[in-house]
């Protein structure tokens, strides 16, 4: 990467004044930020990449759900949802209805907030055709995995926000300094020399990074945009003053409350929901509503929020209409496009989440995320391979730091996918009526990861790479069998029925298992590196 130059951090020494070229300095930043934040970023990338398949994983982990249906008239589904809420949540202060719209929201789902503050919202899945509740097992699903990529786990929210913000900034810096360090973008893009030790790891690192560089830059920058309200509070103070309420005033102007009213306590029947949905459709030139949010349902002061689809384009934004509950008159409107700057922020958030991505773009998102994992993993391995060779050349022992990174690398890189597989196994094997089941699924995941890390700490790295690749191969490869033994939506049923989400998950897991098996075979063959 840097030839003979040593990537020390200081550009030109403050005393010796020996000039080092800019590339060397940037290589130093790249290396040290990479090694310090690599493992955390790998976790964020791996869980975030699974987020691009979140609703597919949700579905697999709730095998009780039938394949999604979008064909029904939405008015009917909405009426079913409201009937259900009327029966089961008549005293609630808020009802939310998510219509089955697309890949992101495949099911009719209701949620309600009880009157007493502090109580958690309850939710239920409904059959869009009949309005009957579908009993589903308690699971964290794909959402729990997806949320880990910024919430981490077992840690307080205020703390993880800062950790994730710093790691994201480290990633952005590693990318920018990596660009400065890297000179031969186009040549290296087509260069992958296998089984050449350090050179192969560098090639792998370069190919994975350069191929997806626009994605990686977008994802790190937009990731910081998600967190910017928390980590740049002084900017708010510049315009809103230093009073403690400045932040609240800012949020109030950015997301103004719409037609707020308090409950009157007088019960009045609400306007038919079909009328509101049609009114919204006319208002939005044919675009349909995706969700309803009803404040004070059944009250004389009921407020019906009709919400458009946030995933209709890369700009993550939707129109919202607020109707008077009893008369059905339009009280307030928030258009999808409010101003260029709000839309810029919405665009960055939308690009990051990729909710708008269709069947063509979604695989590209997935591939870019996976290559991001490869970029980080190969960078971490490259760091150790380089230092190992140096210590061999110098006939000195490897430093303890190097030995630890060498040993733990496979425990992170392969141990995490194994932990994901364990999470899926837990979903099928934990008793369906278990209390706090979703919590224990995650405990199983992190427990298995701890075991993998412990094994890695006690074992020679080459052996850990091989053994854990086999464990991962088994963990993923056997998932279709697990599904066959524990549910009725196995490949024998899902393939003939054309249930592509269920079949796709099983086949995807099988493919992943085969890839891990190939990797393990590859590592068994004698050769330098790895």
């Amino acid at each position: 990467m840097t030839g003979k130059a040593n990537p020390t951090l200081a550009a030109r020494d403050d005393l010796g004044r020996s000039p080092q070229p800019l590339r060397t300095v940037m290589a130093g930043i790249h290396t040290w930020l990479g090694i310090l934040f690599g493992w955390l970023l790998y976790f964020m990338f791996a869980t975030g990449t699974l987020g691009y398949l979140d609703t597919e994983i949700d579905r697999w982990m709730r095998p009780e759900l039938p394949p999604a249906q979008y064909v029904l008239p939405r008015e009917l589904a909405a009426q079913h949802a409201l009937n259900y809420l009327q029966t089961h949540a008549s005293g609630a202060q808020r009802w939310m209805v998510q219509l089955s719209v697309d890949r992101n929201e495949p099911y009719l789902r209701v949620e309600w907030q009880p009157k007493e503050g502090g109580q958690e919202a309850t939710s239920a899945w409904l059959d869009a055709a009949t309005g009957a509740q579908i009993a589903v097992r308690e699971t964290g699903g794909g959402q729990a995995l997806y949320q880990m990529h910024w919430q981490l786990h077992y840690l307080p929210q205020g703390f993880t926000e800062w950790v994730v913000a710093i790691a994201s900034m480290a990633l952005l810096l590693a990318l920018l300094t990596g660009i400065v360090v890297h000179r031969r973008f186009f040549v290296d893009f087509f260069t992958l020399r296998l089984r050449k030790g350090q050179r192969s790891w560098l090639d792998a690192h370069n190919v994975a990074s350069v191929a997806t560089l626009p994605f990686q830059l977008m994802i790190s920058y937009s990731g910081l945009v998600f967190l910017m309200f928390s980590f740049m509070p002084l900017v708010v103070n510049a315009w809103y003053g230093v009073s403690p309420t400045a932040g609240r005033t800012f949020y109030g102007e950015l997301f103004p409350p719409m037609a707020v009213a308090s409950a009157s306590g007088v019960q009045r029947p609400s306007v038919p929901v079909a009328q509101l949905l049609n009114q919204a459709q006319v208002h939005w030139n044919g675009a349909q509503a995706a969700a309803l949010d009803i404040h004070h349902p059944g009250d004389a002061n009921a407020r019906m929020h009709v919400i458009g689809n946030f995933a209709s384009g890369p700009v993550r934004s939707a129109g919202i209409l607020v109707f008077e509950g009893v008369s059905g008159s339009l009280l307030a409107e928030r258009p999808a496009w409010q101003s260029t700057l709000r839309a810029s922020r919405d665009l960055l958030l939308g690009l990051h989440e990729g909710l708008f991505a269709d069947a063509w773009l979604r695989p590209l998102y997935l591939l870019s995320g996976l290559l991001g994992c490869v970029m980080i993993a190969s960078g971490m391995v490259l760091w150790t391979v380089k230092r190992r060779q140096r210590s061999l050349r110098a006939y000195s022992g490897a430093s303890p730091g190097l030995v630890w990174v060498e040993r733990l690398n496979p425990g992170i890189v392969l141990g995490l996918p194994i932990a994901f597989a364990a999470y899926f196994w837990a979903n099928r094997l934990l008793p369906v009526d278990m209390a706090q089941r979703a919590l224990y699924e995650v405990h199983v995941m992190f427990g298995v990861w701890c075991v993998m890390l412990l094994y890695a700490a006690l074992t020679a790295p080459a052996r850990t790479w091989r053994v854990q690749a086999w464990v991962a191969a088994l963990g993923f490869g056997a998932i279709p069998v697990l599904n066959l033994l524990t549910t009725h939506r196995h490949l024998g049923q899902s393939l003939p029925a054309g249930d592509w989400v269920m079949a796709g998950f099983d086949l995807g897991a099988l493919t992943l298992g085969c890839l891990f098996a190939c990797a393990s075979k590859f590592m068994q063959r004698p050769g330098p590196g790895a």
Binding site: L15, V25, M232, A238, W239, L341, R342
Partner: protein
């Protein structure tokens, strides 16, 4: 960290302190600058204030990244701090004058 061939006349012990000093300049100083310089840049646009905050924050992320790299690209750690202080002073003055 691996020891390299030392330049003549250079104290080996000096380097970690320089790195720490630059890391602080880039990490902490850059963080401060990222919340002041964009405010000075955005204030003259005359945006509604909620939008102005968004614009300054979107720019602030880039300012932070550039400031961090600049702290390491500077000739010396002292120079890195000096540059940072100058930028802070100029942009802070501009903010005070504009808002």
């Amino acid at each position: 960290m691996r020891q390299t061939a030392q330049q003549p006349g250079k104290k080996p012990a000096s380097q970690p302190w320089c790195v720490l000093s630059r890391t602080l300049a880039g990490g902490v100083g850059g963080y401060a600058l990222a919340q002041v310089l964009p405010v000075a840049l955005v204030a003259p646009w005359g945006l509604p204030r909620a939008d102005a905050v968004l614009a300054a924050m979107l720019l602030g992320i880039l300012v932070y990244a550039i400031a961090f790299m600049a702290a390491f690209a500077a000739v010396s750690a002292h120079r890195a701090w000096l540059n940072l202080a100058l930028w802070m002073l100029v942009s802070g003055g501009a903010v005070w004058w504009l808002l």
